[in-house]
């Protein structure tokens, strides 16, 4: 399997912690990926109207890039990129007429897209291709005593035929976190939307969600929340500033990408974690638990 790595816009700036921790962790696991050359923004959301082929161009163009790189699979980390790219891919595979229109519109591309690149998320690559024993053998610092509440949000698990796990009771993150030596905690809002793009013009709604989702996890004893989406990370982490103002009794909790947990366990340095990009500082709890 030749894997092209598709970062998406935010992983190069506000979510550089997601990218850097991933690349270090993958190196430790001997999983080779190559960043896609000339990738463009995927569009962030999959257009839900039946007639909107224009907004499927961006995802398909990225799949052409993967094909040009000689890859049969594209790895994403951001849940929204995963969802948008995969839905567009499945759409054109199911509707050859739409694929033809899209290829014709992008006539200046050197090749036509044939529907033969797979869109994969790192969580499913690990689950389906890497034995737990392989990961455990490479662990340098098991995350003992760290209680992790895994937050999936929406785009990893919905809609049913696109999601990488069950939309109501996914387990892939819990299993990974267990393999890393940590203790996964269940809580009822693992797949409840964080508010997503409402954070731009309706941030108060996100504040209420953040309050609900995180209070539920902290009341069950979570030390950290693990996420896989830069928008979830922004909403659950940075919007804690507004959440404390509105709910003074709110207990803050650090938000980490699942790959940061992997990086710590696999022995990556603190520079690969980019903890400076967080609002709620994860260092105190990580030091307390002996993780860093």
């Amino acid at each position: 399997m030749k894997l092209s790595y598709y970062p998406g816009c935010t992983l190069k700036n506000q979510a550089k912690n997601f990218e850097d921790s991933t690349l270090c962790a993958l190196k430790r696991l001997d999983i080779e990926v190559e960043e896609l050359s000339r990738w463009n923004c995927c569009g962030t959301v999959y257009s839900l109207t039946t007639d909107d082929l224009m907004h499927h161009l961006a995802p398909i163009r990225n799949l052409i890039r993967a094909k040009e790189a000689g890859s049969d699979s594209m790895m994403t980390l951001c849940a929204m990129c995963y969802n948008t790219l995969k839905r567009a891919n499945e759409r054109v595979k199911a509707e050859p007429e739409d694929l033809e229109k899209i290829n014709n519109f992008m006539y200046r591309e050197e090749i036509d897209y044939q529907g033969d690149v797979k869109v994969l998320h790192l969580l499913e690559i690990l689950r389906d291709n890497v034995k737990p024993e392989t990961i455990q053998a490479k662990i340098v610092k098991p995350l003992k005593d760290l209680k992790v509440a895994n937050y999936y949000g929406c785009m990893l698990v919905r809609p049913k035929d696109i999601g990488l796990d069950d939309p109501e009771n996914p387990t892939v993150m819990e299993n990974l976190v267990s393999d890393l030596g940590a203790e996964p905690l269940d809580f009822p809002y693992r797949t409840e939307c964080c508010g997503s793009y409402q954070t731009v013009d309706n941030p108060d709604m996100v504040v209420d969600r953040t309050f609900k989702i995180l209070s539920s996890a902290t009341s069950r004893g979570a030390d950290v929340i693990a996420v896989s989406c830069p928008l979830c990370a922004f909403n659950l982490d940075h919007r804690q500033r507004e959440t404390i103002k509105k709910h003074p009794e709110f207990k803050t909790i650090p938000i980490l990408y699942f790959t940061q947990l992997m990086a710590i366990a696999l022995g990556c340095g603190i520079d690969d974690l980019r903890l400076d990009l967080h609002y709620v500082d994860p260092k105190p709890i990580l030091k307390e638990k002996g993780c860093i």
Binding site: G8, C9, T10, N13, Q14, A15, C41, G43, T44, V45, S47, L48, T49, T50, D51, D52, H55, C78, M80, C154, R158, P159, K160, P167, E168, T191, E192, C193, G195, S196, Y197, Q198, T199, V200, D201, N202, M205, D208, R209, P230, L231, F234
Partner: protein, 135 residues
């Protein structure tokens, strides 16, 4: 809320357009309410998701055009996943948004946003918000 129902409304072109853009058959819905029960945005909604489907079935174009619900929807797809009839309610809300946006009735005016506002959120938030709230 005073609502008037008529045969003309039920057969109007707005309903047809909503069905065409959403790809959903509105009459499949039997108002079980699971979509509304699962929707995380209901606290801010004036019409609940199941009510939006009902209003669309009845061709109540004015009420749908003016509701706040379609703009506080976060497209989380919980409604779609829980509907026992397999109706994509999120697609119906997107269709109503698009009917308005395609006539430049934007919810968010980018030109009115300050640089500070635009810089206060990551790119993923701006792009997705503008896709859903602007033309």
């Amino acid at each position: 809320m005073r609502i008037s129902i008529s045969r003309e409304k039920i057969h109007n072109s707005f309903v047809e357009k909503v069905q065409e853009l959403s790809g959903q058959n509105l009459l499949d819905c039997y108002q079980c309410g699971k979509c509304s029960a699962g929707c995380p945005s209901v606290a801010q909604m004036d019409l609940l998701p199941n009510q939006i489907i009902r209003f669309a079935q009845l061709g109540l174009e004015e009420e749908l055009r003016n509701c706040q619900s379609i703009w506080v929807c976060a497209s989380c797809l919980t409604c779609n996943v829980r509907c026992p009839k397999g109706i994509n309610i999120a697609e119906v809300l997107e269709a109503i948004r698009q009917i308005l946006l395609r006539h430049r009735e934007d919810r968010v005016k980018i030109e009115d946003m300050t640089t500070e506002e635009k810089c206060s959120v990551p790119p993923i938030a701006l792009v997705s918000n503008f896709r859903k709230s602007t033309s």
